[in-house]
């Protein structure tokens, strides 16, 4: 088979990894971002206990995705990191903060509140910046020549990524909230989530409007239409199914899926589009690694993804006995 097949295959695989990351780690991040607003004794710790065994495994999808980008499109990683190094470090810093803070929030009980706030900061950093980068990429990067990105920070500020990032944060929090609802459908939480739905509705309108306004050529592709439709379906379904256990979360998964279809439709077949200079864009074909590497990545990816999903599913099952709250290994480092 020819190289195009492998290029496209690996590209789709990478999109799949980032999709799984946002689907799974999305609710961890959403819960992280809800922590400052948790009222009442032990509410925040309760929220953390829903994600404690999972966030690390979910985060691995990001590491896998990044690894595959490095392997399959090495030029992309070099170019991007060269241009947005500091903000990017900040994003990684957010992941580091979240990891350490979640872990210590159940060991260092004396400062639990502080650790929850740190975990929230980390989650906002990761979500906000990650979406901002994605938005910038979708809109097109400020290339100043073939293979050269602008070094001037002002060139990276524009309306679409800002809107995308803000609206996206709401979508992610909704994802976390419905996940919490699925784990523990308490009455107070139902009410709060119901109210938050209006924010989700607002964010969705902004998102769709922004897409049409800034990326019109993309928004009208059939795949994009399907994605947008799925997204709207998820938003409305989420409201209707609010009181049916687990269903709001499932609809929220539709949101995320729809969004990624939109993203895929807007991007393909370009990896890094150039703003206003389409001829400088990095396409799947022009940025990819040699065939031999692509082959290995595709084979390994296709073989292992089902296996990983299978054993991850097993661990989720282990921690989903009804009615029981997840106990962490239950020690504190206080004397």
């Amino acid at each position: 088979m020819d190289i195009q097949f492998y290029q496209t295959g690996v590209f789709l695989l990478i999109v799949l990894f980032f999709y799984l990351f946002s689907l799974l780690d999305g609710f961890d991040l959403g819960i992280g971002m809800m922590l400052p607003f948790a009222r009442g004794n032990g509410a925040a710790a309760g929220l953390v206990s829903h994600i404690a065994p999972f966030w690390d495994g979910n985060e691995v999808w990001l590491v896998i995705g990044a690894g595959f980008v490095f392997g399959a499109f090495p030029a992309v990683l070099g170019l991007l990191l060269g241009a947005i190094y500091l903000p990017f470090l900040l994003l990684i810093g957010g992941l580091i903060l979240r990891a350490m803070a979640l872990e210590y929030s159940y060991h260092d009980l004396a400062h639990q509140r502080m650790w929850h706030l740190v975990a929230a900061c980390g989650s906002y950093l990761v979500t906000g910046l990650g979406l901002y980068f994605l938005g910038t990429i979708l809109q097109g990067l400020p290339f100043v020549g073939p293979g050269k990105l602008s070094a001037y920070a002002g060139d990276y500020v524009s309306a679409f990524p800002v809107l995308f990032s803000l609206a996206g944060i709401v979508v992610v929090i909704w994802h976390g909230a419905t996940y919490a609802l699925r784990q523990d459908p308490a009455e107070a939480r139902l009410k709060g989530t119901g109210k938050f739905w209006w924010a989700l509705l607002g964010a969705s309108l902004v998102l769709i409007a922004a897409w049409f306004a800034f990326l019109p050529q993309a928004a009208t592709k059939p795949l994009a239409m399907a994605g947008g439709g799925l997204f709207i379906f998820g938003v409305i379904g989420g409201r209707l199914a609010l009181r049916r256990k687990g269903w709001a979360f499932r609809f929220s998964c539709c949101n995320v899926t729809g969004l990624w279809l939109l993203i895929l439709a807007s991007l393909y077949p370009v990896v890094l589009p150039a703003y206003q200079h389409p001829e400088w864009s990095l396409t799947i074909a022009s940025a990819s690694a040699p065939l031999s590497t692509l082959k290995i990545l595709l084979v390994v990816g296709v073989l292992l993804v089902p296996i990983i999903i299978a054993y991850s599913y097993f661990t989720y099952r282990v921690f989903r006995r009804p009615g029981k709250r997840i106990q962490n290994s239950g020690f504190s480092i206080q004397n």
């Binding site: 404690a52 065994p53 999972f54 690390d56 495994g57 985060e59 691995v60 590491v63 896998i64 990044a66 690894g67 595959f68 980008v69 490095f70 392997g71 090495p74 030029a75 990683l77 070099g78 170019l79 990191l81 060269g82 190094y85 500091l86 990017f88 470090l89 990684i92 810093g93 992941l95 580091i96 990891a99 350490m100 872990e103 210590y104 260092d108 070094a151 690694a289 040699p290 031999s292 590497t293 290995i296 990545l297 390994v300 990816g301 292992l304 993804v305 990983i308 054993y311 991850s312 661990t315 282990v318 921690f319 006995r321 997840i326 106990q327 962490n328 290994s329 020690f331 480092i333 004397n335």
Partner: protein
């Protein structure tokens, strides 16, 4: 920058490798005998592992990206191989490890002892797989194989040659043994700490009884593996070997130096102490065999002799010291006198840093010994590190990374210490 962050990162994964070994041992014992103190030992070690693991993840997240950022040209050039290895590492090892460590950390009450044991084994496998891939990537830089160069970049031609390049297996053996040594000294130190204070004695006795022999075995294996490692270095990176041994001029019947202060400018080793003919014997099997000196290689291909001669010999001295410590401990344990030797028990916890030092020094020597090459014989470091970032950004990021990494290390150290002081209950 990358050197510092990976140097810190490295502390945690080796601890993970060592700890998972012990967790598997004690889970197996518990599964077989179903009695204390095996279970509480494992419970305790899992707690330590939790703290170490999260620090390993937190410090590791940055690693692949900092390769991309600091060596943009290098990563584009060699991404076809290194990127492939790192992707495979993430998808085979990280995923496995982090999925099942959730069961180790949170699931003891939720799964049967057998499934729990299986999870421990899978975490052990995942951690070692991860070490394997990263060592393979690093070894490829030292002894590249299975590649061709097309259109100004590296193209993978033979996967298994690239993975199992000339130094992967021997380096992996050396690194894993080094990690187990670190785990053994850590657990032995913990056990000795309790024994010396007469706390948790049943627990500590069993732990020590397993940790010390493992420490001994690993410490004894290390020079042997190291010897084969240096033979591989001799064959594939000969100038590095000459620098390790401090041989400037080719000679017959070269001495094995144990100590000395190298002086690359004047090409001599001051205060050299060593065993005559032994190096020739080790390297060629003949006491009068010829050993190539650095003079036979072009000066611009010399690694920084002073640094790597020193680090190499420090590593070996540390190795010898650890053998001494472990032999003494095991012999005394055999004679059932160990618990009377309070000074030894008090000393052991202070020796926990030894294997860590040897690990760090070993890597630094191996990495600096690769200079001036980034990929041995293929790309020089100066060519690969085409850093496009302005200086202030580099300084800011360096300061930030240093701060965060130091904070993580200190936090982890303090918490593990508190956990140990608090004890297994």
């Amino acid at each position: 920058q990358f050197g510092v962050s990976i140097g810190i990162h490295y502390l945690f994964p080796i601890t993970t490798l060592g700890l998972t070994l012990f967790i598997v041992i004690f889970e197996t014992l518990f599964l077989a005998k179903r009695q204390e103190p095996y279970r509480s030992i494992s419970v305790f070690l899992v707690k330590v592992l939790g703290l170490i693991f999260v620090a390993g993840v937190a410090t590791g997240l940055l690693m692949p990206f900092s390769i991309g950022a600091n060596w943009a040209r290098f990563s584009t050039y060699a991404g076809a191989i290194l990127g492939a290895l790192i992707s495979v590492e993430a998808i085979t090892a990280f995923a496995l490890e982090s999925a099942f460590i959730s069961i180790l950390l949170f699931g003891r009450e939720r799964v049967s002892p057998f499934v729990y044991w299986l999870s421990a084994v899978l975490v052990f496998v995942g951690a070692h797989l991860s070490g394997f891939w990263i060592v393979a990537a690093n070894s490829w830089l030292q002894t590249p194989a299975g590649y061709a160069i097309e259109d100004g970049r590296v193209v993978l031609t033979n996967l298994s040659q690239a993975i199992f390049n000339h130094s992967t297996l021997i380096r992996f053996a050396h690194v894993v043994t080094a990690a187990w040594l670190a785990g053994a000294f850590l657990t032995a130190g913990i056990a000795a700490y309790y024994l010396a204070r007469a706390r948790h004695e049943a627990f500590a006795r069993k732990l020590l009884a397993i940790a010390l022999p493992i420490a001994l075995a690993a410490a004894l294996a290390q020079p042997l593996i190291g010897h084969f490692h240096i033979m591989e270095v001799l064959e594939h990176n000969p100038e590095k070997d000459a620098a390790y041994e401090g041989i400037f001029k080719s000679v017959n019947g070269a001495p094995l130096l144990a100590f000395g202060i190298p002086d690359a400018k004047n090409q001599v080793i001051h205060f050299a102490v060593g065993a005559p003919y032994v190096l020739s014997l080790l390297e060629s099997g003949d006491p009068m065999g010829r050993v190539k000196g650095l003079e036979e290689f072009p000066r611009e291909n010399w690694p920084p002799v002073n640094v790597i001669f020193t680090t190499f010999h420090l590593m070996i001295m540390l190795g010898m010291a650890m053998i001494a410590v472990a032999v003494f401990g095991v012999v005394q344990m055999w004679c059932r006198k160990l618990e009377a030797m309070r000074w030894y028990l008090l000393l052991l916890p202070w020796l926990i840093p030894l294997p860590y030092l040897a690990n760090e020094i070993g890597w630094i020597g191996a990495e600096i010994g690769r200079q001036p090459w980034l990929i041995y014989g293929v790309m020089r470091t100066a060519e690969g590190s085409s850093i496009t970032l302005p200086l202030w950004q580099l300084s800011v990021s360096f300061a930030g990374i240093l701060l965060v990494y130091t904070a993580i290390t200190v936090m982890t150290f303090v918490s593990v210490r508190k956990l140990i002081q608090k004890g297994p209950n």
